[in-house]
Amino acid sequence: MEQLLAVLIDGIIYSSWLFIAAVGLTLIYGVMKIVNVTHGSFYALGAYAAASITGALLAKGMPPSLSYAVLLGSALLVSVIVAPLIERGILRFMYAKDEVVILLITYALFLILEDVIKMIWGVNPYFIAEPYGLLGSFDVLDLTYPYYNLILVGVAIACGAGLAWMLGSTRTGKLLVAVIHDTEVSRAMGINVDRMYLYTFTFGSLLAAIGGAFTAPTVSVVPALGVEVIVLSFAVVVIGGLGSLPGAALGAVMVGLVRSAAIHYLPQAELFVIYLVMAMVLAFRPRGLFSIAEARKI
């Protein structure tokens, strides 16, 4: 019984992290129809920015309770600077190319950013443990969990709800939904698709950066932090359906619970079981469990 509870709680925590990490990827695909490998770079950028800025401010005497806001602020700062540079500076000229080619372009950018990160922050690990330990921990039966994990869950819910609200209720959100359904028609109706692309790319990257920023207190921030996140995010997003927000949530929950179950019951399977689910979903429902219906072109 307690084992099951542990699986559930661990699963939800991991799912939250996965959701935050992956939702930006699905948003960018939905609107821009590109599979964005730099997603991992923004995750890493968020982590590094958060770790270095928070660490510096804490050393200067900032009260630790403010560190959460700083985490968020760092993520915001780094994505608002870098994302538009990439989108306006490079990607903008590539949209006419084949989707696989664009993927490769984002892969090239990812490689470049990996080293840019090393150049800016060096190769030594960063640690900021304060935000993680600050809130203490709580007990569920015999299991102990830091409160910080609840923050992670909270951020995930906030991101999901916030996105859903934005897409459904704000003007920009509705315009985005139009672009998601049909770019050409949207353009023909006067929607400034270029600007929508810029917003989407920036916002999606921001979400990745937030994921990285809030993970920073729980790990040592090292180069290649983003490498594993990319392929995990792919898995989550593919399972739920590329471009679908509820799909990303479902995918995150599925992957989180499956992985959690594996860790507790069959540790050898921990790594591959995620990709097994991804492969099975691709094999039986390639467009994911919640896919945007595509009108047949013929």
Partner: protein
């Protein structure tokens, strides 16, 4: 019709390297052999790319080939280069045959992502398998050839010679294949699959065949790499390894069977030089090169030799 000069060119390169290889320093022999190994993988990817399919997980077969070679060494003490390479090719080809039934039904991004998923499954399995050394992997026995053990100074050259021969044969066979009706179907499948069906051919079947060939070639390359490097680990199945192969494929272009090997060699040189100059910026150099090639040389390096696609 232009005369087919490829077989002759291949033969000349083979001879030249066999002759001059005896005088090259050890590190160069290593570089060229590794380039041949990766070139074999990329040769397979090139066949797929001509159909318009990019595998994001070709490292799967590379890794299978390597581990097959390694396992033969571990279990039976086998170290003959030819045997190991053939074993790698067979193992990978078999898996490719089975998986091909599923994968040949997919196109574009979905094909790419599914092949990625499968390669990551292998990675996940290997990392958690203690018996195979988990993340550390294990060492491969020093190479022998037909029961003879070359003197230490000649080991690298021997492996290179075998690799050259194998690559030469592989390239010739693939070149011939690309001229057959099934081989010529590739650009047609890429352009208009409906038309292919209506001509009386099965696109899925053609893709399956090409997929198996690509898998076998990757297994061949993996076994060769294992022998040359002397060590295998799960990283060989990781997505970044697949990324490297795709990089070389784009760099090389699809114009000719020589291109993959040329691309692999250029890649090896760039990687070595960039790393030597500054270990923390070599990825940037790679990424920058990839961007440059995609934007300015979309048909790869080979298009510098010939304007249009050959064969």
């Amino acid at each position: 019709m232009s005369r087919d000069r490829t077989p002759r060119t291949l033969g000349l390169i083979l001879l030249a390297l066999l002759v001059f290889g005896q005088f090259l320093p050890q590190w160069t022999l290593f570089l060229v052999t590794v380039a041949l190994a990766k070139g074999l993988v990329v040769l397979g990817l090139m066949i797929m790319l001509r159909c318009g399919l990019v595998s994001f997980g070709q490292a799967l077969y590379y890794c299978i080939g390597a581990y097959a070679a390694g396992m033969l060494g571990r279990l039976f003490g086998a170290s003959d280069v030819f045997t190991l390479m053939l074993a790698g090719m067979a193992a990978a080809g078999l898996v490719g045959f089975v998986l091909g039934f599923l994968l040949a039904r997919y196109r574009s991004i979905f094909f790419g992502l599914l092949s990625l998923a499968v390669s990551m499954i292998l990675y996940g399995l290997l990392v958690k398998t203690e018996a195979l050394g988990s993340t550390d992997g294990f060492h491969v026995l020093p190479s022998t050839l037909f029961g003879l053990r070359p003197a230490d100074a000649w080991v690298r050259y021997t492996v290179l010679a075998v690799a050259l021969l194998v690559a030469f044969i592989a390239a010739l066979l693939v070149h011939r294949y690309l001229g057959t009706p099934l081989g010529r179907l590739a650009p047609a499948i890429k352009d208009n699959e409906i038309r292919v069906e209506y001509m009386g051919a099965s696109a899925r079947h053609a893709i399956h065949v090409k997929y198996v060939i690509a898998a076998a070639l990757a297994g061949l390359g993996g076994a060769l790499a294992a022998t040359t490097v002397g060590h295998i680990d799960p990283e060989m199945a990781y997505w970044t390894t697949s990324g490297e192969f795709i990089f070389i494929t784009i760099l090389a272009g699809t114009g000719n069977v020589i291109a993959p090997f040329l691309g692999a060699l250029v890649f090896g040189v760039i990687q070595t030089v960039a790393f030597a100059i500054s270990p923390n910026t070599w990825q940037m150099v790679l990424g920058g090169s990839l961007l440059v090639v995609i934007v300015f040389l979309p048909n790869g390096l080979w298009s510098l030799f010939r304007g249009r696609k050959v064969a």
